[in-house]
């Protein structure tokens, strides 16, 4: 997008000095803002709080797991810790992470629009999210919930006597907020692209968020219904899932995973989008196989809806049902491999610069690849029999969700931090935290593959003595990982106040947000309508870093 012109003539820099952060300082101007950029910042603050909260619960149960006996906390307390960790990390961190922060901030800018299609709905989304958050906090105050984040019935409906109702309400509302974000993305991408911005000129980050929006729209209503039915059965004893009341508990699993498998793509697709921006930028190279990455995103989004039964090979579904799900699941290997290989080959022949975001992005590829191949173990029906519901599964999905999504999230936050906040984070600290996170992560989750294969079931408060060594390694890793996250967050917060001011395009990156918008952007993003005349990622290799 080197050539960018205003409709009438040459592009002129914004006249006013003001940016979206500074034009009004009142609290009201923040809490009721309809500016997608401010809403992104609000979301960033909310999810950081939840991320830390979820992390604290993880630390607590990792402490319990230092010893084989269930001696540090009571069983009920331990069960609440892992349930809250799961509920908070999934519904309050992973699902909103990239779309609600980077997506909200960047989707309008990248398509050259002034805001999202429905700014009020966007604001509503944040408020609904916080209402959900209040419900989540109420769960904590009223003694927690101990059903696991999966809310399997009849445990959740007829047996648990914890705050299940509040917890499903929280998840329900959080799901709603994501639907509002999803609608906005879909409409914005369809209707508000700048002149010249054809579908195949869109940055892949847009494709990723668009596909995510579609999955959110199609999947989330189903989990909403499921959670609602849980509440109905729990409150009024209507037999839907509990066989003792005439229901069917396997039905619950079908409904739950019909959403929750696509939900892993809600969590990971936006991360793919982030990586597709960062790799070409710091390779100073055009992205390899643009259309293949774009279509692999769509095909993952679609295929993702037909594989939910791979969570149920040993739940009592029939052999043939299992076969269909196993077979279809295997096809996701292809689009995933396409992405990984295209990113890798983007480095080929480029001019690679190792900045913090690039380090995170490369860490992402490594960890996500491990997460992906271990998924093959679980998708193979016979092999899933011993592995299902063990720590192998725990390790597998943390590799995709933390090693994948959280790494991508941090990659993206570092990458666009100068744009969003207008300050540079200290590069050395950024890399340092990244390496700590990478090391801690591997030390935490590698041993879990082994202990899972040895037979340790997940959600265990106490375990046989011979597995202590591996569990201690895991807890040690989790401590390092926790320290890494804190270091990373501290470094970013510090830089927001005391960091060096960022130039308009510190990375020498392509894209409207870098080439046209100031850092931080003008309240209206653009002072005149940008016209796009080039494909995305038209790097020449001559771009230079602009940091002092």
């Amino acid at each position: 997008m080197a050539v960018i012109a205003d409709r009438e003539g040459a592009y002129a820099p914004p006249v006013r000095e003001e940016n979206y952060l500074t034009w009004d300082h009142s609290i009201k101007s923040w809490l009721f803002t309809q500016d997608h950029k401010r809403i992104a910042i609000l979301y960033l603050i909310s999810i950081t709080v939840f991320f830390l909260l979820g992390g604290i619960f993880a630390m607590l149960f990792r402490i319990e797991l230092l010893t084989p006996a269930g001696d540090v906390f009571e069983a009920d307390r331990y069960n609440k810790f892992f349930t809250l960790h799961g509920v908070i990390m999934i519904f309050f961190f992973l699902i909103p992470s990239v779309p609600a922060t980077l997506g909200n901030f960047l989707v309008p800018i990248m398509v050259g629009a002034r805001d999202l299609a429905f700014p009020k709905i966007n604001l509503a989304s944040w408020w609904v999210f916080n209402v959900a958050g209040v419900f989540a906090l109420l769960v904590l105050v009223t003694g927690g919930v101990d059903t696991g984040w999966t809310f399997y019935s009849p445990l959740s409906t007829s047996y648990a006597n914890t705050s299940v109702f509040l917890a499903v309400t929280a998840a329900f509302a959080a799901g709603f907020s994501s639907i509002l974000t999803g609608i906005n993305f879909i409409v914005t991408v369809h209707k508000m692209r700048a002149p010249g911005l054809t579908w195949f000129r869109l940055p892949l980050f847009i494709w990723a968020n668009y596909a995510t929006g579609v999955v959110i729209m199609l999947g989330t209503p189903v989990v909403a219904i499921t959670l609602f039915l849980i509440a109905v059965e729990r409150l009024w004893g209507v037999g839907i899932f509990d066989p003792a009341l005439g229901g069917d508990s396997v039905l619950f699993q079908h409904m739950f995973w019909f959403y929750s498998h696509p939900a892993v793509y809600i969590m990971i697709l936006p991360g793919f989008g982030v990586i597709s921006e960062i790799i070409p930028c710091f390779s100073r190279n055009r992205i390899f196989g643009y259309p293949f990455i774009a279509f692999s995103t769509l095909s993952i989004a679609i295929l993702g809806f037909f594989v939910w039964g791979h969570h149920m090979f040993v739940s009592g579904q029939s052999f043939y049902t299992g076969m269909v799900f196993s077979f279809l699941t295997m096809f996701i290997a292809a689009p995933t491999a396409v992405k990984i290989m295209n990113w890798t080959f983007t480095l080929h022949g480029g001019n690679v610069i190792m900045t913090t975001p690039m380090l995170y992005a490369i860490g992402f590829i490594g960890l996500f690849t491990i997460g992906g191949v271990t998924g093959l173990f679980l998708a193979a029906m016979g092999l899933d029999v011993p592995l299902h519901d063990t720590y192998f599964v725990v390790a597998h999905f943390h590799f995709t969700m933390v090693g994948g999504m959280a790494m991508a999230f941090f990659a993206g936050i570092h990458f666009w931090w100068p744009k969003m906040i207008g300050k540079m984070y200290p590069e050395f600290m950024g890399k340092f935290a990244c390496i700590i996170i990478f090391t801690g992560f591997n030390l935490t989750f590698m041993p879990q593959f082994i202990v899972g294969w040895l037979g340790m079931p997940r959600r265990y408060h106490a375990y046989p003595e011979e597995w202590q060594v591996l569990n201690v390694m895991s807890t040690a890793g989790a401590s390092i990982l926790g320290f890494g996250f804190l270091a990373c967050i501290a470094c970013l917060i510090w830089s927001a106040f005391w960091g060096k001011p960022a130039k308009q395009n510190p990375w020498g990156a392509k894209g409207l947000e870098w080439e046209v918008c100031t850092s931080p952007p003008h309240p209206h993003n653009f002072t005149s309508i940008p016209v796009v005349t080039e494909e995305a990622y038209s790097y020449t290799g001559e771009e230079v870093l602009d940091i002092d």
């Binding site: 445990l155 508990s249 390899f288 052999f319 292809a334 890798t344 173990f377």
Partner: protein
Amino acid sequence: MLKYIFPEQASTFATRVDPMYYFLVIFSALVCVGIGGLIIYFAVRYRKIEGENRPSKALHSIALELTWTVIPGIGGIAIFAWGALLYNDFANAPEGALEIDVVGKQWMWKVQHANGMREVNDLHVPVGRPVKITMTSQDVLHDYYIPAFRVKHDVVPGKFTSIWFEATKTGEYHLFCAEYCGTEHSLMGGTVYVMEPEDYAQWLEGGPKTSPQESGQFLFEQRGCVTCHSGASGARGPNLMGVYGSTVTLGSGDEVVADEEYLRESIMQPALRVVDGFSPLMPSFSNQLTEEDVMDLVAYIKSLSAEEGAE
């Protein structure tokens, strides 16, 4: 040291599953090292050098794209096939397996052997003989899991599920509940004792003498099943002789094979599938029988077919 990485291998299924696992471990390691190596190589080989500049190159290559679409696709199908074959082994118990009943409840396993011997949490089985475990739950979902045998299956309330295995080594092995089931989930387990057949026979002798079949027969009379299922022509219910394993034609015209799960359903929810030629007047026993009672009744009905076959 090895036991920290390699789990005990104590069943025929374990010896069949493990090769696939270790094969995939090696395969995954190669994939990860390959991709990781390539990235590191590219990152170093094509690092930015001040003042020099490699102009941007090829956008894509159809040949490469096809390679990395087709190869994972074929690999995926191969892994699917291998996995499905293994599952087929796991799902189909051989004829003549020793039958054991298990009922799960928060937080214990109640086990009953063929001669009526009962135990809680632990499981005694003979070595070298297929064992089929029929399971159900009295409350929430559980999952019967014996890592050394590589078998597990959910234990579902309102339904029978089963696993089978053939132990290959005597010894003591862990038994776990693998499906989260509430407070003491992690304590819901015990030890599997694999014994020489003679030792097992001797161990069985220590137990009570009413077999599930006998208790089943007792219940069949006591609960009045016999009034409708007398076997006489013109009785209100169908003759149950030989029903187990046979193909039953339903009023809807469908046919079902009468396995344990069908028998269970016929007792607990008779109206769901009504036998052709009969009216749905059998009462549901779901509130009157415990899960153990149903197991016993099913064992008895199964024995009816055995007698028939002998005659």
